[in-house]
């Protein structure tokens, strides 16, 4: 795959994480198998996969909290296996669950974290001020963490993880459960950090979070099943074409469409229907037959066309190809 090669040959100084042949075995179970992964400075990299695909195991190894079975990890050039403490000092980690103190104020939480990172004196004050400003937390500095809306809590956790000026930031489902505007705000803060030169690795299984990343790797069964920028991935040829359609009576039309053997699934989407076709079905010919049949049935189709796939379509098809879909025991 082109993207993978490109990642491998990028200059060593651009990589904040470089993992080669990363493997982890739990008893007979190989959770992660020979994984190669590079995150560069200024890049937002997304690691995707279902629960059990190996995401968490990978992150734990990259953070230096889980020993490797085999492989090699470098964080800003430092060997994570040999010099875990030194390497870890360059990593910031934001967990999915809020891990700060609910009873402390925003500022107290930051001060406590700064202390844990060993920051003192002027540098400590400077970094706390920076976090309050950069994450737009200053107006709420005296609010207790428990009283903050979820979006602010996420930003506070992010601020705390950045106090020691890490070069790499790990985010675990950073914006699950927040409203669209809070999500947008959070990611724009991430973009500003990336512009400042930090490399970011986010894990998620939400497609609407994945869309925010510059480059994505989809994990399945401990391996990377597909990798590339969202645009690269969208250009992959899918096995089945996708049609988009609008009808006067969408519900009735959806049912009718679902009965065609050529149609693999029908997905309502913002008042339209998207129909994913079976592999090998020729869309133009099918559309002609659909139109004719709809006329006979009295189903009024206002619009029918071939649609571009969405990120989710790509992932679904990659996972299907990888045999991730269990239909038989």
């Amino acid at each position: 795959m082109g993207q993978q090669t490109e990642a491998r040959v990028s200059a060593p100084d651009a990589a904040v994480i470089r993992a080669r042949g990363l493997s982890r075995r739990f008893g007979p179970f190989l959770a992660v198998e020979a994984l190669d992964l590079v995150v560069s400075r200024g890049e937002v990299f997304g690691l995707l996969g279902a629960n059990g695909a190996g995401k968490t195991t990978t992150i734990r190894m990259l953070c230096g909290t889980l020993p490797l079975t085999a492989g090699d990890i470098r964080v800003v050039g430092i060997d994570m296996v040999r010099h875990a403490r030194r390497a870890r000092a360059h990593i910031g980690y934001v967990s999915q669950r809020f891990a700060l103190y609910e009873d402390l104020t925003v500022e107290e939480n930051l001060r406590l974290q700064a202390g844990l990172y060993g920051l003192t004196g002027a540098r400590r004050r400077e970094r706390i001020l920076w976090a309050l400003e950069q994450l737009e937390l200053a107006p709420r500095r005296r609010h207790r963490a428990r009283d903050l809306p979820l979006g602010y809590k996420k930003r506070l956790a992010l601020g705390a993880a950045l106090l020691h000026e890490p070069q790499v930031l790990f985010l675990d489902e950073p914006t699950s459960g927040v409203d669209p505007l809070a999500r947008q705000t959070f990611w724009e803060m991430i973009y500003s950090l990336a512009e400042g030169g930090i490399g970011i690795l986010a894990t998620t299984h939400y497609m609407d979070e994945a869309a925010f990343c510059d480059r994505l790797a989809l994990m399945h069964a401990g391996r990377i099943a597909a990798e590339g920028s969202p645009d690269d991935l969208l250009e992959r040829r899918l096995e089945g074409a996708i049609l988009t359609l609008r009808a006067l009576d969408c519900a009735r039309c959806a049912q009718w469409l679902g009965q065609w053997v050529e149609v693999r699934e029908v997905i309502p989407h913002a008042g339209r229907l998207r129909a994913r076709l079976q592999p090998g079905v020729e869309p133009e010919a099918l559309m002609r037959r659909l139109r004719a049949a709809a006329d006979q049935k009295g189903i009024a189709i206002c619009e029918l066309a071939v649609a571009a796939p969405e990120l989710e379509d790509v992932f679904v098809s990659v996972l299907e190809e990888a045999g991730a879909v269990e239909t038989r025991p």
């Binding site: 996969g49 279902a50 629960n51 409203d179 939400y206 920028s229 519900a251 309502p268 679904v316």
Partner: protein, 314 residues
């Protein structure tokens, strides 16, 4: 208009002094999925628990199939699937299903037929003897839904059933749900995901305990008369601050390497194109009008409501 299978009128609820829900009104007809969309902590779970009779409203009314949801006669015909629905991990698939059949008092032959039918429909046939604890996340959700369907409910309340499930399994789950809807079941479906809301017949956007807007996904994704355009090309993200200051631009949001831009009603796209090119982008940009999703429309409204296009929010 005929009353819906689920009717909620001016519902309010508070835990102690903190108001959780305020004057919520909604109707779910038979054969409809109503998507209750909101961030964590906006009151979705409380609303579901009130709707299925697990909580008593402070004021307002709830009617399910024409009755008070707490009435005993409804027990058999409504189903509630709470978040992280508890299956018995040590019981097999088929044992879990029979357990729920017993719970609802189905007699043996009826239970057997129903369980067989559900196994076929959900694709769980072949997995009957697998322990629930050994199923994949997606299979687990299917089993949970099947257990909720054992009693052939006419109204269902589902609380974020696809949380933690991968896209493939999520689609399979929705196919199943589409089948349930086609049988005429009324479904109130809570989710934090806009893309899931797109699959519902009607959607209500819950914010701080109030239904800010409701309608069909199509109605809610129209951005007034505003136009949504996407800008792609190398390094578009770096342009985001400058684009915000261009004439006719209401809201700009970068998503990965593309910029989504809401143009004010009537602002010609050609004019925007010229203005954009005058910023001397490093590489040629591609500008396209786009069909707005619920997410795009919600983002526009929320950003405009706060009079702060750059967004400081919860």
């Amino acid at each position: 208009m005929t009353p819906g299978a689920i009717e909620i009128r001016d519902l309010s609820f508070a835990y102690g002094k903190s108001t959780v829900l305020e004057a919520v009104r909604l109707t779910v007809a038979q054969g409809q999925i109503y998507g209750l969309v909101g961030a964590d902590g906006t009151g979705k779970t409380t609303l579901l628990r009130l709707a299925c009779g697990q909580l008593v409203p402070a004021s307002g009314e709830v009617e399910v199939l024409g009755q008070d949801p707490r009435s005993a006669s409804l027990r058999e015909v409504i189903a509630y699937m709470p978040q992280g629905f508890g299956l018995y991990p040590d019981l097999t698939v088929v044992e879990n299903l029979h357990f729920f059949a017993d719970l609802h008092g189905l007699d043996r032959p009826a239970a057997k037929l129903r369980v067989r039918d559900l196994l076929e429909r959900t694709g769980l046939a072949g997995f009957e003897d697998r322990r629930a604890g050994h199923l994949s996340g997606g299979m687990m959700q299917k089993l949970a839904l099947s257990c909720a369907l054992v009693s052939e409910p006419q109204a269902m309340f589902l609380d974020e059933p696809t949380t933690g499930v991968d896209p493939v399994s999520r689609r399979a789950f929705w196919q199943l749900l589409d089948g349930v809807r086609a049988e005429g079941v009324a479904i109130l479906y809570a989710t934090a995901n806009m893309d899931e809301a797109e699959r519902c017949d009607r959607v209500g956007l819950l914010e701080h305990g109030r239904l800010r807007r409701q309608g069909t996904p199509l109605e809610l994704s129209r951005g007034g008369g505003a136009t949504l355009v996407t800008v792609t090309g190398a390094d578009t993200r770096a342009l985001r601050h400058k684009v915000r200051d261009l004439a006719g631009v209401d809201v700009v949001f970068p998503v990965g390497r593309r910029l989504s831009v809401w143009l004010r009603e009537g602002h010609p796209i050609e004019r925007f194109r010229q203005d954009l090119n005058s910023l001397r982008p490093a590489a040629p940009l591609e500008i396209r009008t786009a069909e707005a999703s619920l997410q795009d429309a919600a983002l526009r409204e929320m950003a405009l409501a706060r009079h702060e296009p750059r967004g400081s929010t919860d």
